[in-house]
Every structure is written in structure tokens, then in C-alpha cells.
């Protein structure tokens, strides 16, 4: 397992380099920070000074080489905006997003499993039809629209929940509900589909012929077989949550990495943007490795090292 893990980490290195280069290049296409941070009537001398101070006067390749060198020392430079260490800012914002994403995915997976299994018990039954309608609607509603409607109804009209920020349990409801909807809808459909096919397998019939009751057949025999596709999709949806986080954190003023990224792009705060994107990319790679280990845990046939029995 350790050898496998090492292999995976090594093979993740190249895509990470691509991410670093890509972000570096794309960030610089947003424009020159000097025109943003200096007054409109700044002289050319002032602009040159600003660029020299922040290393922006160097050729791009030199900037990139310096940046790369910094990455290996975990030194991402300093924020243009606040003067703080860029890596520290990214690490400070990360837990807020992580909490939001984890809570959302735990809820989405639990609800998706329960509703998906419930629908799969009787294909085309009444439960299946209801859940199919609900999940289709949930997967199709745009998150930014829902967020705004949610704020309008629950925060402004009813006054039950805060409009934005992090202040007590109430402030979690709208961001999580917004993020939850799509993963929930997609997972219900995936779980339903893979459960229907698992439940029609001969080994399910045989389990029944051994006296296994409905609950045992569903939770013990079928669910573990149906879990792999759900795991794949759940992983993909978690990555997708980063997109959702940018939208939701911006709308709800959530101090997470999504908001940090958007702010850094708007402020041409290259160092912070690079740190935030790289941190997110590393988290996604780690997640993918975890998912692959999850497959192996679920199903002996895909274990990288077969234990000789």
C-alpha cells in the first residue's frame, strides 16, 4: 500500500507543475497590478518603482523561476494588498472552505444514499418517481440563483437567517443548502441507478435464498457493490464544490479560499492567488488518492497489491 501511495504522489507531481505554470501565466493576463495599486496620476517613475519593488520588472521567465524556487521552500511571496505572507493567507482561509465542503458532502452522501436506496427498492414505484423528480430538480437549479432567492426569502423577507458572514449556526444554513443541492441530486440518481442494477444481480437472489431479509440484502449485499460509482461521482462533485465555493463564498461573504481567490484575481494579487490555487490543487490530488484507496477498501478486485491467500 505504501509503495502504491508513493507512486501516486510521484505521478501527481507533473500535473501539479502544470497547474503552477498555468496559474502563473493566467494571473498575469489580468493586467498590471501597478495600474490598480497606484493613483491614476502616478508617474512612470512611480510605476517602475512599484514594479521593481515587487519583482514585476523582471522578465517573465525569471519571475517564474523565482516563483518555482519559492514553492519548494513553501515561500509564495507576499500579498500586494495586505503585505502579509501569501501562503499564510491561503492556509488561514482554507479551513472555512474545508468545513463548508465537508459538511456539504457528508450531508449529500448520507441523503443521497438513503433516498437513492429508497428509490431503487421499487423501480418505477411511487418513491422512485418522487425522488426522480426531486433529484432532477435539485441537480438542475443554478446555485447562484438559489443563493440569491434564499437570501431574499429567508434573510430579508422572513428575517430568520443572516444574509452573510459567519455568525452562529444560522449562518451555515443558506451556504450549505446552496452547495448541497446539486451533489444531492446527482448522487441520488447515481445511487439509484447502481442500486437497481446491483439488486438484480444473481448474488442478491442467492443471498435471499440463504434467508437474508430485505434490510440485509440492501445494506450488506447490494450497497457495497453499488458504492464504487457513487464514490467516483462524489469525488468529482467534491472537486466541483470548489467552483460552488467561489460563488457561494462570494455571495454569502464566507471567508474561505474561494472568496480569497476571487478577491486576489480582482486585486491582481498574484502571490496570494498562486498560493490559494496551489493549495486547492494539492487538496484535490489528495482527495483523488483517498478515493482510489476507497475503491480498494470496497472491492478486493481493484486492490493494488493482492494479498496471497
Amino acid at each position: 500500500m505504501l509503495i502504491y501511495l508513493r507512486k501516486r504522489i510521484v505521478s501527481s507531481a507533473l500535473p501539479l507543475v502544470v497547474v503552477i505554470v498555468g496559474v502563473f501565466a493566467l494571473a498575469r493576463m489580468t493586467g498590471n497590478p501597478a495600474s490598480l495599486y497606484l493613483p491614476l496620476n502616478a508617474t512612470q517613475q512611480m510605476r517602475d518603482d512599484f514594479s521593481a519593488r515587487n519583482g514585476l520588472d523582471q522578465p517573465l521567465l525569471v519571475q517564474m523561476a523565482e516563483y518555482f524556487g519559492g514553492v519548494f521552500r513553501l515561500d509564495f511571496g507576499h500579498s500586494l494588498r495586505t503585505g502579509q505572507d501569501a501562503a499564510a493567507m491561503a492556509f488561514r482561509a482554507f479551513p472555512a472552505t474545508l468545513q463548508l465542503a465537508t459538511t456539504t458532502m457528508v450531508l449529500a452522501v448520507l441523503l443521497g444514499l438513503v433516498v437513492g436506496c429508497w428509490a431503487a427498492l421499487k423501480p418505477n414505484g411511487i418513491a422512485d418517481r418522487i425522488s426522480s423528480f426531486v433529484s432532477m430538480a435539485a441537480a438542475s437549479i443554478p446555485d447562484f440563483w438559489l443563493a440569491i432567492v434564499g437570501i431574499w426569502v429567508f434573510a430579508i423577507t422572513l428575517g430568520w437567517l443572516p444574509t452573510s458572514g459567519v455568525s452562529g449556526a444560522g449562518s451555515w444554513v443558506l451556504p450549505i443548502a446552496t452547495l448541497l443541492l446539486r451533489p444531492f441530486g446527482v448522487l441520488v440518481q447515481i445511487v439509484r441507478g447502481s442500486m437497481v442494477s446491483a439488486l438484480s444481480e444473481p448474488y442478491i437472489k442467492l443471498a435471499r435464498s440463504r434467508g437474508a431479509g430485505e434490510l440485509r440484502v440492501v445494506t450488506h449485499h447490494a450497497l457495497r457493490n453499488a458504492a464504487a460509482p457513487a464514490l467516483t461521482v462524489a469525488g468529482d462533485l467534491t472537486v466541483g464544490l470548489v467552483n460552488g465555493a467561489v460563488v457561494v463564498e462570494t455571495i454569502f461573504g464566507w471567508p474561505g479560499i474561494g472568496k480569497l481567490m476571487i478577491d486576489s484575481i480582482l486585486q491582481r494579487d498574484f502571490a496570494v492567488l498562486q498560493a490559494a490555487v496551489l493549495l486547492t490543487a494539492v487538496a484535490i490530488f489528495a482527495l483523488n488518492i483517498l478515493i482510489d484507496m476507497g475503491y480498494a477498501l470496497l472491492d478486493a478486485r481493484v486492490r493494488p497489491i493482492t494479498v496471497k491467500a
Binding site: 437472489k205 435464498s209 434467508g211 478486485r301
Partner: protein, 352 residues
């Protein structure tokens, strides 16, 4: 792969089918009366199994013989209570040691699944759950019905693997189904079916997916287990040779109906239904090279278009007006207590 254990078990003496055994009056374990199964399809409900009747006796093998789609497997699934959701038990009784399984609620019926009867499927790979070790699956019946814990169930699983001749059961118990050969998987499936010493074992084409040498070993294993446990065995097959070798009695099925039944030796020597006769005549014996093989012309009726009279009328060489008008009931032939046939002209069919 042929292992020492498989070779050893193939040397077991065969006692089944000898006249001495047949002469003894055996207990009736299973009585099926007028069993009918309907399938709900988009084009309406069709009857896949119709007024099926037979008996299975302890220590004997009853063969359900018929071609694909004749309702053999459907009957087996109905007996085991594991029909597809689109199928309904429309009529009939399934008396297992006097208890009518057909009248029980699904929950009550689960108590008989395992201790009452076990079933073996054709394809052992899809019949085993790929994500659990064979030990877990073999032990499951003990955990459900006897409330054993995981450790005790594992010991029972090892014991079962020994019984069906799987080498090194202590380590193999932790292996997954895909790590076994086809023959070994079939042994595991059989072990699972006999785990709780059921009175009845249903084997649905247990050797069709296996090569010939392994087939013989599996049939031998089934015989040995039948003798040990004095089980009634229902063997579902389309193979006339297997019926002749393994079974004590036979029920021939056609288009969802039992058309003839009786002791194998008598039915094969002197068939009393034109379908049975046609089947037996299609077996190549003493044929010249290049000579035409005999077959029954035509094909079985589609379930949506079963004719009103006799189910075999479209292919029968003896068909008369009465066959188109009236479906012959399964009745005793030659005043024999053991032989039945569903033909208006049973008495006129001779083996000449």
C-alpha cells in the same frame, strides 16, 4: 485446474440410481401442486409456468428437463421464493414437508430459505458477491439462522469448504470469489446451498458453465452430499445424458407445462408424450458420418401466443382436432402410480 481433492472426491463410490435404492419407498419431501407463475410484460401478462405438478423424494434426484424458455428455471425460482419482481405466483401449492411455502408471507418464508431448501445457480461467478470473501458468504446462513458470531461462522465456513472438497480451507476461507477457479466456485455455491442441511436442494443447471471433467466432479459431489444428507435433489437441465445418469425420476417440461413425468428408466425406455419421444429420437445413436441428425421441426410457442388446446400441437406429428380444441390434462398412464403424461393419445405412442 484439477486439484488433489477434486481427484479424490471423484473416486467416491456411486450408489445412486441402483435398483436397490429405487425399490425402497422414500419420504416425499416436496410436493408441487398446480403451480402457476405469471410474468407481467409490456404486452400484457403471460403465464410462464402452468399447472406444474411433481414430487421430490428424500435421497432421490428429480430432473426437470426441457429446452430453454420452457419454465424450468422459473419453476426453481418460484420454489425458492426468489422470483424476479415482475413475476407473480398465480396459483398452486409448494408443500415442503407438509408446509405450503406458497401460502406463507415473505417474512415467514425467509425462515425456510436455507434450513428448508437451498439452491445452486448455473453461473457461480455472478452468483457470488464479488466484494465479500467466500468465508463471509458461506458463514452468512449461520449468522442469520443460528445467530452465530463472525468467528463461529468462519469456523462453520471452513467446515463446509472441507465438506465440498476445497483444499486448504483455513487459508482459502479469506479469499474472494474471483480468486477461485470455475469448478471451485461451483463447489462453494453448493456448499452455501447445503450449509444448513436443507431437506431439498435445487440445482439449476449446475454444470452448464463448466468443462466436461469438472462437470463430472460436480455431479459426483452433488450425489455424495445427497446421500450424506438424505436430501431430495431437483436437477434442472436440458441435457438428456445427465438426466439418464443422475436422476431417479424426470419431469419433462414444454412451454411452461409438465408434459410427462415418471421414473427415468421407464420414461426414457417408453415415452408416452410425443415431445419426450421427439427429444429422445433427436439423440444421435449409431449414426453414419454425414447422415442428417434428427430434430423436432418448428420451435416452442411464444409465451404471448400459447394456443388454446395442447401446447405441443404445432409440432406434433399426431395432432388431431381434439388437440386444438382441448388441452390434455396430466394424467396417469398405463394405470401406473408413478407415470403421468399430458397427451390425448398417450396410449397410442409406442417406442416402435
Amino acid at each position: 485446474m484439477k486439484t488433489a481433492a477434486e481427484q479424490a472426491s471423484s473416486k467416491c463410490p456411486v450408489t445412486a440410481g441402483t435398483p436397490a435404492v429405487q425399490a425402497k419407498a422414500r419420504d416425499v419431501v416436496l410436493q408441487v401442486r398446480d403451480l402457476a407463475v405469471d410474468i407481467r410484460t409490456h404486452r400484457g401478462t403471460v403465464r410462464a409456468v402452468n399447472s406444474v405438478r411433481f414430487e421430490a423424494r428424500a435421497g432421490e434426484t428429480l430432473a426437470l428437463l426441457g429446452e430453454s424458455g420452457c419454465g424450468k428455471s422459473m419453476t426453481a425460482k418460484a420454489l425458492a421464493g426468489i422470483m424476479d419482481p415482475v413475476c407473480d405466483l398465480a396459483d398452486g401449492q409448494i408443500l415442503l414437508n407438509g408446509t405450503d411455502l406458497a401460502a406463507l408471507s415473505p417474512k415467514e418464508r425467509l425462515k425456510f430459505a436455507g434450513p428448508g431448501l437451498g439452491i445452486v445457480f448455473q453461473d457461480a461467478l455472478t452468483a457470488l458477491n464479488p466484494v465479500y470473501t467466500v468465508g463471509t458468504q458461506l458463514g452468512e446462513a449461520f449468522r442469520i439462522h443460528r445467530g452465530l458470531n463472525a468467528k463461529q461462522a468462519r469456523l462453520e465456513a471452513i467446515d463446509l469448504m472441507k465438506r465440498v472438497g476445497i483444499p486448504e480451507p483455513e487459508s482459502r476461507v479469506n479469499s474472494y470469489p474471483h480468486q477461485f477457479s470455475g469448478g471451485m466456485r461451483q463447489r462453494i455455491l453448493i456448499a452455501m446451498a447445503v450449509a444448513l442441511n436443507p431437506r431439498l436442494l435445487i440445482a439449476d443447471e449446475p454444470t452448464t458453465a463448466l468443462d466436461v471433467t469438472v462437470q463430472a466432479q460436480i455431479m459426483q459431489l452433488l450425489r455424495t452430499l445427497r446421500e450424506e444428507g438424505q436430501m431430495a435433489v431437483i436437477l434442472i437441465t436440458h441435457d438428456l445424458a445427465v438426466v439418464a445418469e443422475e436422476a431417479d425420476s424426470v419431469a419433462v417440461m414444454y412451454a411452461g407445462n409438465v408434459v410427462e413425468s415418471g421414473p427415468v428408466s421407464e420414461v426414457f425406455a417408453d415415452p408416452r408424450h410425443p415431445y419426450t419421444k421427439g427429444l429422445l429420437e433427436s439423440v444421435p445413436v449409431h449414426l453414419e458420418r454425414g447422415a442428417q441428425l434428427k430434430s423436432i421441426p418448428g420451435s416452442p410457442p411464444e409465451l404471448h401466443h400459447i394456443p388454446a388446446g395442447c401446447v405441443y400441437q404445432s409440432r406434433c406429428p399426431l395432432v388431431q382436432d381434439i388437440c386444438r380444441a382441448e388441452r390434455p390434462a396430466l394424467r396417469a398412464v398405463d394405470n401406473s402410480p408413478t407415470r403421468t403424461a399430458a397427451c390425448h393419445f398417450s396410449e397410442e405412442i409406442t417406442n416402435a
